[in-house]
């Protein structure tokens, strides 16, 4: 595979959210407002790129039997870095994302890419893969969050599009709305991919 396809792979063909359906816990939980989608996506992308980089670089000095432990150690450290940095410089976003920042540690996209890609490839493709997957994840959850915010709250990125007196479908902000929107978006994505792959 060429370097370009390492990158684009995560955007559409194996999009972690719509195709691999990995990391659904933060996907469903934080997507109540578009800005949360971007914040969560950026944090995950950072962790993904850094952990892919380090794991690809260290793959020969990590014995097979302890590789998962070593990966988790590396991933958890980067997540803590993100956690501290967001707490310091973006406290409002940190408060809304809350527990889901530390929970990036157990986001299966990250461990999945470490296991399936970074430990078998060299550093540069691993970075591209992490970047592609991360951006794919960010775009997907921001789309999901925008749809939910628009229908549930009548706004996008906190910009109110309808007047306060019009009632919106609160259901879409609440957990069931996450599942409903996610389901429809996956269906639409599958349809689009089927049409364009032929």
């Amino acid at each position: 595979m060429s370097n370009v396809s390492h990158f684009t792979n995560g955007l559409v063909k194996s999009n972690p959210t719509f195709v691999l359906v990995l990391g659904t816990c933060p996907t469903l939980a934080v997507t109540t407002a578009a800005i949360n989608g971007i914040g969560m996506g950026a944090a995950t992308t950072f962790v993904l790129v850094c952990s892919n980089l380090l794991i690809a670089a260290l793959k020969n000095v990590i014995p097979d039997k302890v590789r998962i432990a070593a990966f988790i150690l590396i991933i958890a450290s980067f997540v803590t870095v993100v956690d501290l940095v967001m707490k310091a410089y973006t406290p409002d976003l940190y408060n809304t994302l809350g527990i889901f920042i530390p929970l990036i540690v157990v986001n299966c996209i990250i461990l999945g890419r470490a296991e399936a890609f970074a430990q078998k490839n060299s550093v540069f493709p691993a970075i591209l893969d992490g970047l592609g997957m991360g951006i794919g994840f960010t775009l997907a959850i921001t789309l999901l969050a925008s749809v939910r915010e628009l229908i549930g709250n009548g706004s996008i990125f906190n910009v109110k599009l309808v007047s306060d007196n019009i009632s919106t479908f609160l259901l879409f902000i609440l957990p069931p709305g996450a599942f409903i929107t996610y389901g429809y978006l996956i269906a639409i994505m599958n349809r689009l991919r089927a049409r364009y792959s032929n």
Binding site: T32, V66, A70, L73, V81, L84, P91, G98
Partner: protein, 191 residues
């Protein structure tokens, strides 16, 4: 370089070195971010105090009064006390605890309220920070209510609850009531 065998020595050494390196990196980041974190937390409270009180010229943050888990900040202008900002909380929210900053005038009426931290349901309970709900507390004096108790209309009180979030509204009243009761004790003692 070939991959290392999974011998006990290799495994221990590899994990040990990775953890050492990672903890060093974390220690570094912790040191760098420590100050901005405390600063941003403090800034939020300072701003909240400014928002809930009439103008003052002392530094209320310098002499906080801790009582039963609440924190009171006393604002003065010249020699007169112009207001009390109370950082209050309730455990009765729909998703547990939330924190409010409420400003009282010296006569006990509410000047303004800011939500400091909450996890209530987005779109329902989280509407407590909106003007529609908040405005009914402004200028309100709990001491002039029957039995000096703040209640939502459903419980026979004066407050219109947020629609579909009565539990949050009750908890909000509970937090304010707590702050008011403590404030009365403070004023009693200082007489």
């Amino acid at each position: 370089m070939a991959k290392l065998d999974s011998s006990l020595k290799n495994m221990t050494l590899s994990l040990l070195l990775i953890s050492l390196f990672m903890s060093a990196a974390l220690g570094f980041v912790y040191n760098v971010t420590k100050e901005p974190i405390t600063k941003s937390m403090k800034a939020k409270e300072t701003n909240a105090i400014k928002d809930v009180l009439p103008s003052f010229d002392n530094d209320p943050m310098s002499s906080p009064l801790q009582i039963n888990g609440l924190t009171f900040y006393i604002a003065t202008k010249g020699k007169d006390t112009v207001g009390y900002a109370a950082k209050t909380y309730t455990d009765r929210g729909y998703s547990g605890r939330f924190d409010l900053m409420v400003g009282f005038l010296p006569n006990g009426s509410i000047n303004n309220i800011v939500v400091l931290q909450q996890n209530e349901t987005p779109g329902l309970g989280s509407n407590m920070s909106q003007d529609k709900f908040r405005s009914q507390f402004l200028k309100l004096n709990i001491g002039e209510l029957p039995d000096k108790l703040l209640k939502v209309r459903k419980d026979g009180g004066e407050i219109d609850a947020i629609s579909a979030a009565t539990i949050t509204s009750r908890a909000y009243c509970n937090a304010l009531q707590k702050a008011y009761d403590e404030l009365m004790k403070i004023q009693e003692e200082s007489k």
